[in-house]
């Protein structure tokens, strides 16, 4: 608030103070930088943020020029609403990876540079040529407050235009909804139909495999491994992959797993199969064990069926 | 206000065209009869015009005048002088025969798939022909320059479709290739004439501006302008007049193909069916020469006098050049086209000789050339439709298998080389005499055309009709009754005009005198009187 009053005092008197000049010379370069950023940033999100910055600075300039209402509106509507809208749309469209700055149209950049330079020079020249006097100031215009001044103009002289803009806004809102609204043409498929479809075109019949094999922590971002140990992209959500935030299983992790396997193998003093094959790889051996024990069981027919524990115990005793 | 005869003469074919167009597509024959009836009615009306016209009377007769766009001085003004009457009669007489000759030309071909078939070809063909007739007649009777211009240009549209849409069945090369050539010819025709028309439009606007300081404001009325010029209350600056003249003349020189603006004619006539080719050269092109006589001379006398040497030179070139190229042709329709170019050279020569013989001869020439070319081209068309080829080399000995066809062909050819006893002889002789009395050298050069004409006609006849019979032609049918009914009257007309042209000359000559008085020229005295 204090700044506002300060600024208003700046704008009120006709002769401009050094303070305003200082403010201008500090903020203007930033604004320009923001503009450039808007144009040049490779990621849309960044340029959106740059734009927001520029807008805020412009808002400050409005205030400095005695347009308090506009300054506020600038911040609230533009920076607040419009830019947010931009960001939302960006999310909707997918915060895709930065679009390349490689020019596809032949000579487009040259033309742009030429015209841009030309226009800039022309505008500057025009302004220079137009004998711009000094400020007359808004002292009496803002006599009973800027907002009141605007309002009295808006609701008297610019009434019709105001109404029309109102209509325009309404229409725009309706139009936007109409545009973005998607009519459902056919009824959505039932789960059964979807599954049947999947079977028909033979893609991924069972549900997708879960991520996070051998996870040490919440591991949505670690792909599950295939039998041969290669990570499967199916297991991680597309968005993460889009963002490039997928963590892949490191070699040391693999190594440690192998070591673990080895240790369990030693513990059961069996030739541990040290291979990339993990849990699944071990299973057949167990099967064979079972087989042996089965055979032993067939050898001594004396044992009554059903008490495994005994047989185990017998093996223990056999050792 | 008496019965508007001229308007009726224009409306009859126009209404006929609409009637023909709306005949249901299944009833092709009905459409043909409707078209024929309409053209006959037109001919009757034209005959009435011919009767009601008093040769000795006013310059423009049967006049009608209604305000149309008063703000621009445009009005609906009709009227005929002797020249107009002659040409209206020619048009109205020819078209029924053309329809009769083209009776089966527009029937959908049997081999054509329903998909590839055009929509109601027959109705379209005859309706278009009638439209052309209406527009041509209008441009002959319009005495308001703007009115004339509109129809002069509008003519192109139906002609374009007639040329591009209805080739003849003669296929020495494939169907698609033919279609390509056809569309090429049609587009060429259109662009050429359109270019001329646009130049003329500019000249017309210029004329309006130039006449704007008349008491009544600017006007397009031919009579008003000529009278104003005669009374001296309207004078053009020299350069203005010359530019306007050029604007008009170039358009007409394209229409009545004058060397070097002629190259559209051989394509157009070669690719289109025989009746359409006749329509082009015998009817539509006459508008060009007619307009030279009526507008160029009537509106811009001094400029015409100024341009005469060049125009005569061009006419001479056309005569000799056209004839030589006709000799060099391998395609009989193109040959006839180049022959027409040579004849148009004669017509222009007669017009710009500025003598009563020359201009009367030119007018007669328009009529006679129309009939003669019609006879020759239609018979050639019948021949082509039998053999299916336009190449002269594909024929030979027809005279033995189809004597009547050969005979009519020969008579048409003899008329084309203007043999005494046929109409063209008188017109050509008048043109030459008229030219000679004023420009002896030009007259003598033009005589070369006589010999060359004999060459191209007789070479054509010899190569196609005489010699041993080619096996493909051994059982070619002779002229059918319909075809004979089309050709015989034309031949009779040719011979009648050659033996007793007085009625025609009596109608034409007074108007020619008017034109000459516009230009301020008079026939040169014979040497002896001059000496006395």
């Amino acid at each position: 608030m204090s700044t506002l009053t300060a600024l208003s005092s700046l704008a009120a008197e006709t002769s401009t103070s050094g303070g305003e000049a200082a403010q201008f010379w500090i903020l203007a370069p930033i604004a320009v930088a923001g503009g450039l950023g808007t144009v040049l940033m490779r990621r849309a999100v960044y340029s959106a943020l740059c734009l927001a910055g520029t807008m805020v600075i412009l808002a400050l300039f409005y205030l400095a020029n005695g347009a308090y209402f506009l300054g506020v509106v600038q911040i609230v509507v533009y920076t607040g609403a419009v830019m947010m809208l931009f960001l939302f749309v960006l999310m909707l469209v997918g915060v895709s990876a930065a679009d390349s700055l490689k020019e596809t149209l032949k000579g487009q950049r040259l033309i742009t540079a030429g015209f841009g330079l030309g226009l800039g020079i022309l505008l500057i020249a025009g302004i220079g040529q137009a004998s711009v006097g000094s400020f007359t100031g808004l002292a009496e215009a803002n006599a009973q407050g800027n907002v009141q001044g605007l309002a009295s103009l808006l609701f008297t002289r610019y009434m019709v235009a105001f109404e029309v803009t109102g209509v325009l806004l309404t229409v725009a809102a309706v139009g936007a909804t109409m545009l973005t609204h998607r009519e459902k043409i056919e009824r959505s498929k039932s789960q059964r139909e979807q599954s049947e479809e999947r079977v028909k075109d033979g893609t991924q019949v069972p549900p997708l495999p879960a991520p996070g094999v051998y996870a040490r922590h919440n591991a949505v971002d670690i792909p599950g491994l295939l039998p041969d140990g290669t990570p499967s992209p199916l297991t991680v959500s597309a968005t993460l992959q889009e963002r490039g935030q997928v963590r892949e299983v490191h070699h040391e992790a693999m190594g440690s797993l192998a070591a673990l396997e080895q240790r369990t193998a030693d513990h059961q003093n069996r030739p541990g199969s040290v291979s990339g094959a993990l849990g699944p790889g071990a299973r057949p051996e167990r099967e064979s064990n079972r087989g042996e024990s089965g055979s032993t069981r067939t050898t001594d027919a004396t044992g009554t069926a059903g008490d495994d524990g005994d047989s185990d115990g017998a093996e223990e005793a056999g050792k | 206000m008496s019965f508007p005869l001229l308007t009726a003469t224009v409306l009859a074919p126009a209404i006929g065209a609409v009637a023909t167009a709306v005949v249901p597509s299944a009833r092709r024959t009905l459409a043909k009869w409707v078209a024929l009836a309409a053209s006959v009615v037109t001919a009757v009306l034209a005959a009435l015009v011919l009767i009601r016209f008093e040769p000795g009377g006013d310059r423009y007769q049967l006049t009608e005048s209604h305000a149309w766009i008063p703000d621009f001085g445009v009005s609906y003004e009709l009227g005929v002088d002797g020249i107009g009457v002659a040409l209206v009669a020619l048009t109205a007489v020819l078209v029924p025969f053309l329809i009769g000759a083209g009776w089966n030309d527009a029937d959908p071909k049997e081999d054509e798939t329903p998909a590839g078939r055009r929509w109601r070809p027959t109705q379209g063909f005859f309706a278009l022909i009638l439209m052309v007739e209406a527009m041509v007649v209008m441009s002959f009777v319009a005495t308001d320059i703007f009115l004339f211009y509109i129809f002069f240009e509008a003519m192109l549209i139906p002609m374009y479709f007639l040329i591009g849409g209805f080739g003849d069945r003669a296929g020495e090369n494939s169907e698609s290739q033919q279609a390509k050539q056809r569309s090429y010819a049609a587009v060429k025709f259109l662009l050429y004439n359109l270019a001329g028309g646009l130049i003329m439009l500019a000249a017309i606007i210029g004329l309006y501006v130039a006449t704007s300081d008349l008491p009544g404001g600017g006007t397009f009325s031919l009579q008003a302008i000529t009278e104003a010029r005669a009374s001296g209350e309207l004078t053009f600056a020299q350069n203005t007049e010359r530019l306007l003249f050029l604007g008009f003349f170039i358009a007409f020189a394209i229409k009545a193909p004058l060397w070097p603006l002629h190259t559209w004619l051989p394509n157009a006539m070669g690719e289109s069916t025989a009746p359409v080719a006749v329509l082009i050269t015998a009817v539509v092109d006459k508008v060009g020469t007619f307009a030279m006589l009526r507008f160029c001379l009537g509106l811009f006398p001094e400029a015409s006098a100024w341009a005469t040497p060049v125009v005569i030179a061009l006419a001479l070139v056309s005569i000799v050049y056209g004839a030589l190229l006709a000799i060099g042709q391998r395609d009989m329709k193109r040959l006839i086209a180049y022959a027409s170019i040579s004849h148009f050279g004669f017509i222009v020569l007669g017009i710009f000789a500025m003598t009563s013989q020359g201009q009367s001869g030119a007018t007669l020439y328009m009529v006679n050339h129309g009939i003669a070319t019609a006879a020759l081209m239609l018979v050639a068309g019948f021949l082509i439709s039998r053999r299916g080829s336009r190449l002269i080399a594909d024929y030979g000995g027809v005279q033995k298998t189809a004597p009547i066809l050969a005979g009519t062909f020969l008579i048409g050819g003899l008329a084309t080389l203007s043999l005494p006893g046929t109409g063209p002889f008188i017109s050509e002789f008048l043109v030459l005499v008229g030219t000679f009395t004023r420009y002896p050298v030009a007259g003598i050069i033009a005589c070369a055309g006589i010999v060359l004409a004999a060459l191209y006609v007789l070479i054509l006849y010899q190569r196609t009709m005489t010699g041993p019979v080619r096996p493909e032609l051994s059982r070619m049918p002779d002229l059918r009754p319909r075809e004979l009914a089309v050709v015989a009257p034309l031949i009779a007309l040719l011979i009648f005009l050659g033996v007793f042209p007085k009625p025609l000359t009596d109608i034409v000559e007074p108007s020619v005198q008017h034109t000459l008085s516009d230009v301020g020229e008079s026939d040169p005295e014979p040497e002896l009187e001059a000496r006395r």
Binding site: A11, A31, V77, A81, V82, V89, E103, I124, A172 | -
Partner: protein, 99 residues
């Protein structure tokens, strides 16, 4: 401190925005550039209003904002729709104006 500075600034921003429109393929960024241009214009308007000492310029700027808002809404809607149909927000993909 004279109005020129503000005007020069707005000119500069305007030009930058224009170049952005021409350079960027991403429709959204193009839109942002347009916004930038509008804002530059607004700055000029406001400056003028102070220059002449009446509020009409500000009114004008106000209207510009409103219209810009409307335009953004519709525009973004369109972008979203295009993206749905052709899975890209690139301006160049929609080169359908060619016959």
């Amino acid at each position: 401190m004279s109005p020129e500075n503000y005007l020069h600034l707005s000119a500069l921003l305007f030009t930058i925005g224009a170049c952005g429109v021409l350079l960027r393929r991403n429709a959204i960024v193009v839109f942002m550039s347009i916004e930038l241009m509008l804002n530059a214009a607004n700055l000029a308007l406001v400056t003028f209003s102070r220059m002449h000492g009446n509020l009409d310029g500000q009114i004008m700027a106000f209207f510009v904002m409103v219209v810009a808002a409307a335009e953004v809404v519709v525009g973004l809607a369109i972008i979203v729709m295009v993206y749905r149909s052709r899975h890209s927000a690139s301006v160049d993909d929609a080169s359908l104006m060619k016959l």
